[in-house]
Amino acid sequence: MGLLDKQFNNSGIIVTSLDNVLNWARLSSLWQMHFGLACCAIEMMAASASNYDFDRFGVMPRATPRQADLIIISGTVTLKMAERIKRLYDQMSEPRYVISMGSCSNCGGPYWEHGYHVLKGVDRIIPVDVYVPGCPPRPEALMEGLIKLQEKIRSESLAKKSA
């Protein structure tokens, strides 16, 4: 990290603000909730499997929302599932982040016109931080989405509470 090695070479003591420490701690250990809906879940599994390792970013699947900071909505959100997703999102502990993966959860995707049972976009029920386009997005695209989320977390601050 740019921040750390610059400090070491002159005095060996790191002087930084509390925000940076907290944000750096949060963004490098985003625990993802073990939750997959449809085709994008397979690409998410491929992303956390051997070739594209998600663990390098500190993203580790956790089974319960209580221990998860990040929920990746990977797949089509149907109306029957929407209430459950809202409840799961509510049960997550703050600060929590949402990545909407795939065009199905972004805006209904290929099911936007005739999908009577499909919710046209997960942002209608929960606030979304990063949208990852694609159907399904490649694991690299998901990682880029994660990096975008990390940049967003880096700019957070304790002073003004983020939404």
Binding site: S50, T78, P110, H114, Y116, H117, P136
Partner: protein, 386 residues
């Protein structure tokens, strides 16, 4: 519900003290339900008295979309997304049905390409099924090994159709692009690379003492119950029924290759337990490799898009065509009224039918066994809910 259900389960120590059943939701968000399946378990202590599956959390209105598309070709991307682990088989099944409706014959090269693609997809789908089954039963490393091999197959698919998971490659009457140069050598290299890996997967998981203890004699499906519930694929073959549509209801050119149908023999427990279903998938991967190698040898040259009709307008009628997907018998019942759009498309998905036997298999087992049984059924929720 608080009224007590009399436990029809006598445990090994013969205790019959009446206790209240507790209802636990193995709900839509659960690591071991392979997607959004909800199993409502009625549990006495830790022994499952009854299982009530609730599905429909991923119902994406496939049949409504099939009726609303402007022509027959446009339904294929929705068939991809129905069973996203075996998209090639889904497209092929739908293309077979429409080709029979139209009565057209595809060129030889297309038949060979379709067999190669479908068998590669079968291996990729079985790799996921076996990898996540290892996860369900508690072994993490096989999951990583098998995804590494699966990435090699996805590279082959990406070479030909540009996509990793949902291809829209097999069209009605042919395939969208011809094989790129170098595909055949790469496919042969993959077959040579992958064959010893099946043995590696056996050493990792199949003959592991704990794995055998968790899966042998668990979730026994007798053949008659299997046929009565309409199961198919590795689930039925694991119970000893010698039924494989590639040979019994022949379609395409499977009769030109010599391969054999894997039937469960109950090596580690009784016939039809979870281990047999798991082993049927492992050995099927080997048979698919044989088919691919023979197909790669005999593939002729020729044009692949010659038989793709410009305008599909089948005369009124109906047809039900079925084929062998990695999970079992995928059938498309298409009713056409002579116009450009299908009047009704009903997809008979194997996972939907195999799942209906789950309550029968799980009664009397511990909750951990329900996880092992649900994993051995190998369900894909996109296909169950359509």
């Amino acid at each position: 519900m608080s009224e007590t259900l009399s436990p029809t389960i006598t445990t090994s120590t013969g205790r019959t003290l009446r206790t209240e059943e507790m209802i636990i939701n193995m709900g839509p968000q659960h690591p071991s339900t392979h997607g959004v399946l909800r199993l409502e378990l009625v549990v006495d202590g830790e022994i499952v008295v009854d299982v009530i599956p609730h599905i429909g959390y991923l119902h994406r209105c496939f049949e409504k979309h099939a009726e609303a598309m402007t022509n027959y070709q446009q339904v294929i991307p929705y068939c991809d997304r129905m069973d996203y682990l075996a998209s090639m088989n889904m497209d092929w099944a739908y293309a077979l049905a429409v080709e029979k409706l139209l009565g057209i014959k595809v060129p030889e090269r297309v038949e060979y390409i379709r067999v190669i693609m479908a068998e590669l997809q079968r291996i990729a789908s079985h790799l996921i099924a076996l990898g996540t089954y290892g996860l369900d039963v508690g072994a993490f490393t096989p999951f990583l090994f098998m995804f590494r091999d699966r990435e090699r197959i996805l590279d082959l698919f990406e070479m030909t159709c540009g996509a990793r998971l949902l291809y829209n490659y097999i069209w009605v009457g042919g395939v969208s692009h011809d094989l790129p140069p170098g595909f055949i050598d790469k496919a042969k290299a993959f077959c040579k690379y992958f064959r010893p890996n099946i043995k590696e997967c056996n050493d990792l998981l199949t003959y592991n003492e704990i794995f055998i203890k968790r899966t042998a004699n668990v979730g026994i499906l007798p053949p008659d119950v299997g046929i009565g519930y309409g199961c198919s694929g590795p689930m039925l073959r694991g119970s000893g029924v010698n039924l494989d549509l590639r040979r019994d209801d022949p379609y395409s050119i499977y009769d030109r290759f010599n391969w054999e149908v894997i039937v469960g023999k109950g090596e580690m427990g009784t016939v039809g337990d979870c281990w047999d279903r798991y082993m049927a998938r492992v050995r099927e991967m080997e048979q698919s490799l044989n088919i691919i190698e023979q197909a790669l040898e005999q593939i002729p040259d020729g044009d692949v898009t010659s038989a793709i009709p410009k305008r599909i307008r089948p005369n009124p009628g109906e047809v039900y065509v079925r084929s062998e997907s990695p999970r079992g018998e995928i059938g498309f019942y298409i009713v056409s009224d002579g116009s450009q759009t299908p009047y009704r498309v009903k997809a008979r998905s194997p996972a939907f039918v195999n799942l209906s036997v789950l309550p029968e298999l799980c009664k009397g087992y511990m909750i951990a066994d329900v996880v092992a049984i649900a994993g051995s059924v190998d369900i894909v929720l996109g296909e169950v809910d359509r």
